[in-house]
């Protein structure tokens, strides 16, 4: 299931604004890669280009290639909807569909893909909720609206929704930034679990989190205001946090940034 991601010479634009410049990196399958860097350096923008969400913004444009197991997702023959169906995404703010029940939220992706069999949907809902460590908390209220859960539960519901379609890759944009330390730990444990089956890319502002959950870390930086963000270096997490090649990386992770 898990697939490998290869990004090559990626340049991202919002209209005339050049947001990110010349990014090249690879993410092996069944691996967690963390994106770190100061605010506005383009982490979310790069992440959103990996499932073709970038182009949803008006005027947004992509140059370069992103390959999934060697297949360019930006090839002209590829349908962006199809790409998004095989790449799950979890957002910074939990965004369950408020008018849908918990069950319907989890299986929303499958329903979009045309699965109608109720028994199958129920099975997937249970499996995904167990996978997201939420099953025990919601199994008695599957028909209640998803918006009635706590923030941490909502985020795990969104993770369940993302893994319900068994995607090749899971993208997470600061999934814990709105959560308390206990929910954060629960989600970090979950990421470590999910790594067995999925290729994961996570954006985080929390250095400890990057160090705890990721195998590989990519540091992005801004050279100046109005300049495009850049990938400074990407390496094994251990290496980045103990002995980075670039001075900027060392300054950033040791808190001497700016």
């Amino acid at each position: 299931m898990a697939k490998r991601i290869d990004v090559k010479d990626l340049n991202l634009f919002y209209g005339k604004f050049h947001a990110v410049q010349q990014v090249s990196l690879s993410v092996p399958p069944r691996n967690v890669t963390a994106f770190i860097g100061p605010s506005g350096c383009g982490k979310s923008t790069v992440l959103r280009s990996l499932n073709r969400m970038h182009e949803v913004a008006p005027g947004a444009r992509v140059e370069g290639t992103v390959q999934l197991d060697g297949e360019d997702i930006y090839a002209s023959t590829v349908d962006p909807v199809q790409v998004r169906r095989t790449i799950g995404m979890v957002f910074q703010r939990p965004n369950p569909f408020p008018t849908m029940s918990i069950r319907d939220n989890v299986v929303a992706g499958l329903k979009l893909a045309g699965v109608k069999n109720k028994k199958q949907l129920d099975e997937v809902a249970e499996r995904s909720l167990r996978g997201a460590n939420l099953w025990n908390e919601v199994k008695d209220r599957m028909d209640r609206p998803g918006g009635g859960l706590s923030g941490g539960q909502q985020q795990r519901l969104c993770i369940a929704r993302a893994i319900a379609v068994q995607p090749d890759v899971l993208l997470m944009d600061e999934p814990c930034s709105a959560l308390d330390p206990i929910s954060t730990l629960a989600i970090e444990d979950l990421i470590t679990e999910l790594k067995k089956d999925y290729t994961i890319v996570i954006v985080t502002h929390n250095m400890q989190q990057a160090a705890r959950v990721s195998d590989q870390t990519a540091f992005f930086n801004l050279l100046g205001v109005g300049q495009p963000g850049q990938l400074i270096e990407v390496d094994d997490t251990e290496k980045i946090f103990s002995n980075p090649t670039q001075k900027a990386t060392e300054d950033y992770i040791s808190g001497r940034f700016g």
Binding site: R84, R85, F91, L112, C158
Partner: protein, 354 residues
Amino acid sequence: MSDPVVVKPPGGTGPAGAPRGAAANTPAPPPEAPIPPQTEVEPKSPHVRPGDRIFKGLATGSGVFIVALIGAIGVFLLVQAIPSLALDNVNFLFSREWSTGDVGNMRFGILDLFLVTVVSAAFALIIAMPIALGIALFLTQYAPRRLARPFAYVIDLLAAVPSIIFGLWGLFVLGPVLTPIGEWLISSLGFIPLFAKGNVSIALGGTIFTAGIVLAVMILPIITAVSREVFDRTPGPHVEGAIALGATKWEVVRTTVLPFGKAGYVSASMLGLGRALGETIALTIILSATGSSFGWSLFDGGATFASKIALAAPEFNDPRSAGAYIAAGLVLFVLTFVVNAIARSIVAGRKEYE
């Protein structure tokens, strides 16, 4: 149980818990001498900001005024109507007769007026609702911004056209155009009562069919404008969530925009219905008068509450016959009230979900 609560404030939590009344009592015990100055200052200032008080007075005042005004209108209608209702020689609610010319023998009932009013407004709603939904979705979801703005503007402009213009247009332009369509419907679907041959000449076009279509055009901008507003407010994160799951444009609309905007759309439609029920001058011009009663056909003529009343102005010099029309107006008043109440309860039901 209550004793410890009373003792507590002097113990030190006074400033937070004790309102003004309590603060006046507490200064007596000596031990907490340093606290009273605080307790005296704190409760006063946050509660009596003059701006707040003025605003509260203004808001309450206008609320009370509106309610009183509506109540007064209701009472006025009732007071004028009751004497005439007492003179009515047929059942007011269930009779189809309407003759008030001879004030010695008044026979008036609203059944026909009620049916023509409701059927023409409902017909208008059935036409306008899907079209308004389509336009609102097109403008908010599909049309490029550059096109959406002028397009929305044109639709809003429709709302500014005076009803008299709609009436003339309906009678002289739309009516003749609809005549062959009506004839075709009668000949092919005439076995359905709704499409049966009506009680007025179809050649003139003064039918409920024409009236309903004109009403539909008139309420279209209301429904469209409100729905557009609601659909535009679909929370971005939900839309992105759906897109990230691999939803197509239409699936995004179905999973986020429609569920979010449904209640707003329905209550917008109810607003439109209220407008259609009360529309007067356009229908006065369009609908052909008829001597026979309403037979459930869209090709019937007749009169609605509002058009009947408007046409009866010459009779208003006698309070007894005027009272009969006021009684009819009262029923219309209640009808629109009920429609509004339904719209309101739908909107309230939606709040719980957010």
